[in-house]
């Protein structure tokens, strides 16, 4: 039993790390721009494809392929922010419609380019096994956990220790006040979209080789990331981080007690329970803007 529990905790931490990347990106964009970007999951997916492309066609280095994918997605993010979301500022309904539309456009674009079938990406870290007691995991599991750990720590330090990072948090807490201290909102929008899309790309590039790369690979990470930021309290960055990790671990451990098919149900049951008991989320405040 302890073995099985350990196994699921490690699996859950791995998946939770992926959810964390998605949730952190979404919450940054939401906090600064008030855009709930439902297209975040397809950006994650495109990140997987672009990484696969770079790895198989161009670079033959997984690390460079990941960085290349993050760079490409940053540019796509920039274009989406400029071309779509900035124009729809303060228009929540249109933003939702636009992001749902983007899902269709991007998903069909990917199918047009790469076809509907899953792609496989063979890298050494998925072949190497790491034994822990009687268990064994792929090295990729730990690569994911480690990379996300380092990345999230770096983002956290950026947000708390740097001038621009603090300005990002300031903008998400009080946009009018940010304007009167001279923070240019447009620059903050760009920064949040850039970081958010790069994180989504990183997620897709890390998960792709472990499972497969396919047009709907971002759907579940999107839903879990969304659940994470709601459970964590809309707009709360620590909430998104802990929420993402927590969801990964809870759903993995739940498979020990209930059939695997109900894994997603457990997450959404937890979401509903949090909403009933603590509507502002675990780390949220009751009303946006009020402390």
């Amino acid at each position: 039993m302890a073995q099985a529990l350990l196994e699921q905790i490690i699996n859950g931490t791995m998946m939770g790390s992926i959810y964390m990347l998605v949730a952190l990106g979404m919450v940054l964009i939401y906090g600064v721009m008030h855009v709930l970007n439902f297209a975040h999951g397809v950006l994650f997916m495109v990140g997987g494809y672009v990484c696969h492309f770079f790895f198989t066609q161009v670079l033959d280095s997984y690390l460079l392929a990941i960085l290349g994918s993050m760079a490409v997605l940053s540019v796509i993010g920039l274009a989406l922010e400029r071309g779509v979301f900035r124009r729809l500022r303060d228009n929540l309904r249109m933003q939702v419609i636009a992001s749902l539309g983007l899902i269709l456009v991007i998903q069909n674009g990917v199918i047009a380019i790469w076809g509907p079938n899953a792609l496989q990406m063979r890298i050494t870290t998925t072949d190497i096994r790491v034994p822990i007691g009687e268990l064994s995991f792929t090295l990729q599991h730990f690569l994911i956990i480690g990379t996300v750990g380092v990345t999230v720590t770096a983002i956290w330090l950026f947000l708390t220790r740097t001038r621009i990072g603090t300005a990002l948090r300031a903008t998400s807490q009080n946009a009018e006040a940010a304007q009167v201290v001279g923070i240019d909102a447009n620059r903050m929008y760009v920064a949040s979209f850039l970081i958010g899309c790069a994180l989504a790309a990183l997620g897709g590039a890390l998960l792709g080789p472990l499972f497969l790369i396919f047009p709907t690979m971002g759907d579940l990470p999107l839903l879990k990331g969304l659940a994470a930021i709601i459970i964590g309290g809309m707009g709360s960055i620590p909430g998104a981080i802990i929420g993402g990790l927590g969801i990964g671990i809870v759903e993995a451990v739940s498979t020990l007690y209930i059939p695997t098919d109900f894994r997603d149900t457990v997450v959404f049951a937890a979401l509903i329970a949090v909403l009933l008991l603590r509507p502002q989320g675990l780390f949220g405040v009751r009303v946006r803007g009020e402390a």
């Binding site: 001038r163 603090t166 300005a167 948090r169 300031a170 807490q173 009080n174 009018e176 006040a177 940010a178 304007q179 009167v180 201290v181 001279g182 923070i183 240019d184 803007g289 009020e290 402390a291």
Partner: protein, 251 residues
């Protein structure tokens, strides 16, 4: 120092809120704008600071036309604005709030030096440096807003109802601070509902009605003027703003 001519401002939809207002504030002066709720006082300040979607007219700062400049450029040019709604960052610490006040200062040494100066002016901010700004009382939050503004060493400060929601003792303290800043040579332009105390602390005043200047005079004359008294004293005994429910004190 600060001069607006024929300033017209609104939020779109065809309705003009501020209608051709001429107003100015000179160095060393406290100028107060009074007027009923909805008269357009806040919109006037926002209009000067280029934060409303519809505006016409001219705004000059130290003789230079700045009407088209973005808020961050205005701030860099010496015009600061403290809005009516609390403009602190609730989940940044007091120290981080101060640092954000100097966001546009590229020179970090200068920023640290100026933070030292304003902390000397407002000791409470040193005491609570590492706490979230949300934990400060209403009066302390106002002080933080004023202190934060000073980091850019502005020549003109516009304050929208700085005394709103404060206990009488703190109202006096805020107006005292405003006077002190004027004595240091800044031009202070404030909007107030607390008519008596505000005019008592001012050099000149404007009465705004339906987006237009109805009266403009020396503050002492306005205080004595029957029309001002009739319009504002009776309606608001003691001059306390209607939303002043919570006196000073921490939760």
């Amino acid at each position: 120092m600060l001069e607006a001519r024929g300033l017209t401002a609104g939020y779109g939809g065809g309705r003009i809120i501020v209608d051709g207002v001429d107003i100015d504030a000179r160095a060393g002066e406290v100028v107060t704008i009074i007027g009923q709720n909805g008269a357009g006082k806040s919109t006037l300040l926002k209009g000067i600071f280029n934060m409303v979607p519809v505006r016409r007219g001219s705004v000059s700062l130290d003789g230079a036309e700045v009407f088209d400049q973005r808020p961050d450029r205005l701030l860099a040019g010496g015009l600061a604005y403290i809005p009516q709604n609390h403009s602190i960052f609730p989940k940044l610490t007091v120290a981080e709030n101060l640092r954000m006040g100097g966001f546009l200062l590229r020179d970090q040494r200068l920023l640290v030096e100026r933070i030292g100066e304003v902390e000397a002016m407002f000791p409470i901010l040193v005491e609570r440096r590492d706490e979230y700004a949300a934990g400060l009382s209403g009066g302390e939050q106002r002080m933080l807003e004023i202190a934060r503004t000073l980091l850019m060493a502005p020549k003109v400060i516009m304050l929208d109802e700085p005394s709103i929601g404060l206990a009488p003792r703190l109202v006096d303290q805020v107006f005292q601070t405003v006077r002190t800043l004027a004595e240091q040579g800044k031009a202070m332009l404030m909007v107030e509902q607390n008519v008596k105390k505000a005019l008592a602390a001012s050099d000149r005043g404007y009465v705004l009605e339906l987006g237009q200047v109805k009266l403009h005079d020396r503050a002492d004359r306005l205080l004595a003027d029957d029309r001002t008294a009739q319009l504002y004293m009776g309606a608001r005994p003691g001059g306390t703003a209607p939303s002043a429910e919570a006196p000073e004190g921490r939760p």
